[in-house]
């Protein structure tokens, strides 16, 4: 059989694998909804959780589709579709694929349009194996780990609650810091331009891209707008008793925050031509 990165049989195999991944999510959804019924949790709460999670997911999921499109240039659509439907991300998949190509003495750009089945299989092995830790480590650790946490909670309930909040705050603080990571362009730029060395994962070639000195403020303002909107939603819920807003506040604030990036980028600038 002659190989092609978009051969129908690749889509068939990937479709079967993704069906299995989907089946696990459906299985756990049914299992947890049944359990909610058994312990007489509020049906409306379960329904609201389902609807809110679905709405919340739309924008980030669309962003993942964009990454499939980006990777499809050299690897076809089937493999990026598989890899980005399971654990992975654009940066990881691009690095893993580029390293595999480099290991074969070539680059992804050189492989585009002329990749052989052997090269494709080699790249697929590296992409699959290099990130396969959580999938087996969770079964090994989770039960004992959670048992330990429960014992810990029984000893000191107050500290256990603080610990849980600390986990969430610790994660959020890292992302708050990340939002500010390009602010230093304000004082590190020369003649209003900040040079960034960008390595093309496809070709391995490095090129210099210039950003405006104020470009690092775009994510900061997007975050502030999104946060301010969340505060407004909180006030509306409190003062006008708009309880329905509680379920939709996060996706609404997120989408408006994302939309605000369009005028903000025009105003503060991005890449300088």
């Amino acid at each position: 059989m002659e190989f092609s990165v978009n051969h129908p049989i690749l889509f068939l195999i990937v479709g079967i694998i993704i069906s299995a991944v989907l089946a696990q999510s459906v299985y756990f959804l049914i299992k947890s909804v049944r359990r909610a019924r058994e312990i007489k949790m509020d049906k409306k709460l379960v329904k609201k959780t389902i609807i809110t999670a679905a709405i919340f997911t739309i924008a980030p999921a669309v962003a993942i589709v964009i990454t499939v499109a980006a990777l499809s240039q050299s690897l076809g659509i089937a493999l990026p579709w598989l890899r980005l439907s399971v654990v992975g991300s654009l940066s990881y998949e691009a690095i893993a694929a580029a390293n595999a190509a480099s290991g074969m003495g070539t680059t992804l750009a050189e492989l585009a349009g002329s990749i052989t089945a052997s090269q494709y299989v080699t790249i697929a092995i590296v992409m699959t194996v290099s990130i396969m830790v959580g999938i087996w480590l969770v079964p090994v650790l989770a039960k004992r780990y959670q048992k330990g946490l429960v014992n810990f909670e029984n000893k000191d309930k107050k500290w256990s609650d603080i610990l849980q909040n600390s986990l969430f705050i610790g994660m959020i603080s890292a992302f708050v810091g990340y939002v500010f990571c390009d602010v230093s362009r304000l004082w590190l730029s020369e003649e209003g331009k900040f040079a960034v060395e960008v390595k093309d994962q496809m070709s391995g070639a490095a090129e210099t891209v210039y950003y405006t000195s104020t470009s690092g403020l775009v994510p900061v303002f997007v975050m502030l707008i999104s946060a301010a909107l969340m505060c407004v939603c909180g006030l509306l819920m409190k003062k006008l008793n708009w309880k329905w807003l509680n379920d939709y506040a996060l996706p609404i604030c997120m989408v408006i925050g994302m939309a605000s990036a369009i005028p903000l980028t025009n105003l503060l600038g991005g890449i300088v031509a």
Partner: protein, 223 residues
């Protein structure tokens, strides 16, 4: 030995999660094998070795740290699902946190376990369906996604997400949030090594620092 009726709900979550994850791991590993058999292609073993050596050690180390960091936040069912479907810190975990906040349930309770599992399962299903639609419509959609008009919006998805989610959580826990937020701001603003590609590594650092700081405040009777 416990019989089936004696297993608690949590026991069954761990049992089923283990079976599912190990089966899916084998299925995922079978992809390159099946493709190789169908197209009668043998991998370039030197390329595999060099590629793995350049990629796996770092991502395996990060994977171990992520498992330890995220399990208490995701819950049992959520962990089994999230470490198969991925996009944890940018999608599954915020989705679970939002669901727990809206439901006003304790993340460590059985209700919390159920709510976070439902949120993560729904999020995984919706993501998979949207990617399938995206793959089907990739040709007409690509110019829209890559348009200069929409690109800035999709580039800023994380600031928009963590602005809204962060203000809700930080305002409720501001005493424990002050020091880690200041630390991360200083590191990301003034140390060039900390940038968008290191945020994943900084999550466990932020978590460990926040726990240590909270413990200090707790011992001092401030919280």
């Amino acid at each position: 030995m416990k019989n089936k009726k004696q297993l608690s709900y949590m026991d069954t979550v761990h049992r089923d999660g283990t079976v599912w994850n190990l089966i899916l791991m084998v299925i995922l590993l079978m992809f390159p094998v099946v493709v190789g058999v169908i197209f009668q292609a043998v991998p370039d073993w030197e390329g595999v070795g060099k590629g793995l050596l350049a990629t796996a050690p770092m991502y395996w180390a990060v994977g171990v740290v992520e498992v330890i960091t995220f399990i208490p936040m995701l819950g049992a069912g959520g962990s089994y699902l999230s470490f198969v479907t991925g996009n944890i810190s940018n999608l599954k975990l915020p989705c679970a946190i939002n669901a727990l906040e809206n439901a006003k349930v304790d993340a460590k309770s059985e209700e919390g376990e159920i709510i976070s599992t439902i949120a993560i399962a729904v999020s995984s299903i919706v993501t998979t369906i949207i990617i399938i639609l995206g793959v089907i419509l990739i040709v007409p959609l690509t110019p829209i996604f890559e348009s200069d008009l929409l690109k800035p919006a999709f580039d800023q998805i994380l600031p928009a997400l963590f602005g809204a989610l962060g203000v809700a959580l930080i305002s409720k826990n501001w005493k424990i949030a002050v020091a880690p937020v200041i630390l991360m701001l200083v590191l990301f603003i003034f140390v060039p090594a900390f940038n968008s590609s290191t945020v994943g590594i900084m999550v466990p650092v932020g978590v460990v620092f926040t726990i240590a700081f909270s413990r200090f405040l707790y011992k001092k009777g401030i919280i």
